[in-house]
């Protein structure tokens, strides 16, 4: 077996006296989908922020394919293969759907500093963006500004941009939050599709138990910033710590 694609070692962040992520160590492998669960405020999003670089770590390390990326900028991590979809939709609101995807492709092609050609003259980038929009069934909205789209379509676009990044590590932070019962399956189907790629490492923060059951190969439980359980779904769900962590009844058993 090859080494882990992503690893965090004793990763820690303190906000004042509050330890939001507390010495969390875990390794992730290609072809594996890990669900990350924990009550509100457990530190899931903050852990993600440490991995993708939005927040500097107070201690510990992030390794990508063995390389220490703890001190790298967000963009440099993205460039090396960390891909993130955000809990709160985070797009370019006034730009079109197509442009939102095209910009990702342009970044991957490292053409950002090209100042002497016309962006719209690069058919290859436009076509690549169109193909991705077709994959997520948004092609009919290609020329709409993003802020005119309903929430569900914006979430789809968020996933589309993550696909466009072609990262090694896909990080989803509650991708179905705020979606209706008929909107969520489209997103989940896309995640299942990504998971079928044996090279993809997928991290998924999710509250809904049925989603976790159908997608996850492994579950990690965070509680008060600490990793309290890590293992196969059946094992973790049966364990006592998890039940305790969820005494508030956070896991939605639908």
């Amino acid at each position: 077996m090859t080494g882990p694609s992503l690893e965090t070692r004793d990763l820690t962040v303190r906000f004042g006296g509050h330890v939001a992520v507390d010495h969390v160590s875990a390794a992730f492998h290609p072809g594996e989908l890990t669900a990350i669960v924990g009550p509100n405020g457990a530190g899931k999003t903050t852990w993600f922020n440490l991995i993708s670089g939005q927040i500097p770590a107070s201690g510990g390390k992030v390794l990508l394919k063995g390389e220490d990326i703890t001190r790298l900028s967000v963009a440099a991590r993205t460039d090396r293969g960390i891909g993130r979809a955000f809990q709160l939709t985070n797009l370019f609101p006034k730009l079109t759907v197509l442009e939102n995807v095209r910009l990702v492709i342009q970044a991957r092609a490292r053409r950002g500093f090209n100042m002497w050609t016309v962006a719209m003259g690069h058919r290859d980038m436009i076509e690549a963006a169109e193909r991705i929009l077709e994959r997520v069934r948004l092609q009919h909205l290609a020329n709409q500004p993003v802020n005119t789209l309903p929430h569900g379509d914006q979430r789809k676009l968020e996933v589309a941009t993550l696909i466009a990044m072609q990262p090694e590590v896909f990080m989803f932070d509650e991708p179905t939050a705020g979606l209706s019962l008929d909107e969520a399956p489209v997103i989940l189907e896309l995640i299942a599709e990504i998971k079928r790629d044996p090279g993809a490492t997928v991290l998924l923060v999710e509250h809904k138990m049925d989603v976790i059951r159908s997608l996850a190969d492994r579950i990690i439980v965070l509680h008060n910033g600490a990793l309290v359980a890590d293992g196969p779904p059946a094992e973790v769900m049966a364990s006592a710590v998890v039940k305790e962590a969820y005494l508030g009844g956070e896991l939605e058993d639908v």
Binding site: L95, L103, A107, R111, M115, T117
Partner: protein, 352 residues
């Protein structure tokens, strides 16, 4: 061909297209269409300010960076030409060296300001540019041995660009072409090239990244663009183009002084024009500058005429007194911002 020159950035409105074409034709044939020194001065000023304002729009409207140091860069180009001419003697080489030196200095200053301060919040960046620009303005008026201080410097340019030079024996198309007209065409062509260059830059992959950063810098970084570098690059490009506009201005005016290049009033004019014309459109710089400079230069005349024509009415002639022109300019500005919040270009394109 036109598409290529405009970098695929169509005016998107027949009216705007017609207006831009009218301005282009008027500027291209200004010496023939509007003979007279004053109108040629106005035409040249419009050309130069289009470039100056467009370079500011690149920064403010595309990259979303607020800077108050734009006139400082404008001044660097102008003083570069003046100082080089004084040291090296009159000649095209002095003009070239001065222009290049001004542009180089502008690039270095812009890069340093950007690196030191683009990581901080936008408001701090704006304040730092204001501080640096004020310091440089004070320095320029103090170092009179080099810069001529408050009096500024006269610039001796090659004879071919002065009114004394007459390349043709008789009139051409009814106009006695002299060196001043040649100088005007130097201004016009340089400004046209610079404008088209900027139009290309904002429509390039790089320009798209700037717009993305303006929209959502957090996301731009997350999809892999090093935001600091792009902002720094935009600051440098904008500064270099402003300095080139300054060099052209100096060659045209044959004079440079703190008030004509570094003044706060010019910074305010630039801001007003960008807003009136329409931010983030490039074409806004063209229509905005044309409208603004014309109003600035001719409003007093028009008012004088209107004041006399209405002399039989009570109060009205008083209000139209040419001395009140600044008030009317202010009112025009407020009205235009109120009725065209997206600028003239936004209005013409039908955007609200």
């Amino acid at each position: 061909m036109v598409r290529l020159l405009l970098s695929g950035d169509r005016p998107q409105s027949v009216l705007l297209g017609a207006l831009l074409l009218t301005i282009l034709v008027c500027l291209a044939f200004a010496p023939f269409l509007f003979p007279g020194t004053r109108s040629l001065e106005t035409a040249a000023r419009i050309c130069i300010f289009i470039v100056l304002v467009a370079s500011y729009d690149l920064l403010l409207g595309y990259a979303g960076i607020v800077s108050f140091a734009h006139t400082m860069f404008f001044g660097m180009g102008a003083y570069g030409v003046a100082i080089a001419t004084q040291r090296m003697g009159t000649g095209y080489d002095a003009l070239a060296v001065g222009t290049a030196a001004g542009a180089g200095l502008a690039a270095v200053f812009a890069f340093l300001i950007a690196l030191f301060s683009l990581r901080v919040r936008a408001i701090f960046f704006a304040m730092i540019t204001l501080a640096v620009a004020s310091a440089v303005a004070v320095l320029v008026s103090q170092l009179s041995a080099i810069t001529g201080g408050e009096d500024g410097m006269n610039i001796r340019i090659p004879r071919e660009l002065t009114p004394a030079f007459r390349p043709f024996d008789g009139p051409v198309l009814g106009l006695n072409v002299n060196g001043r007209v040649l100088n005007y065409y130097l201004v016009f062509v340089s400004c046209l090239v610079l404008f088209l260059l900027m139009l290309r830059i904002v429509n390039s992959p790089f320009g798209r990244v700037l717009q993305a950063i303006r929209e959502n810098a957090f996301r731009a970084e997350a999809i892999g663009y090093r935001v600091v570098f792009y902002r720094a690059a935009a600051t440098v490009i904008s500064a270099v183009v402003a300095s080139l506009a300054g060099a052209i201005f100096a060659i045209w005016l044959r004079y440079v002084g703190p008030a004509t290049t570094l003044g706060v009033e010019i910074m305010l004019d630039i801001l007003l024009i960008v807003v009136i014309g329409g931010m983030g459109t490039m074409y806004g710089a063209v229509v905005g500058t044309a409208a603004f400079v014309l109003a600035q230069n001719y409003l007093r005349d028009w008012m004088g005429g209107a004041s006399e024509a209405t002399s039989f009415l009570p109060l009205v002639p008083d209000l139209l007194n040419p001395d009140r022109w600044l008030m009317w300019l202010g009112i025009l500005f407020i009205l235009s911002v109120y009725f065209f919040p997206t600028g003239m270009v936004g209005r013409l394109r039908g955007v609200r």
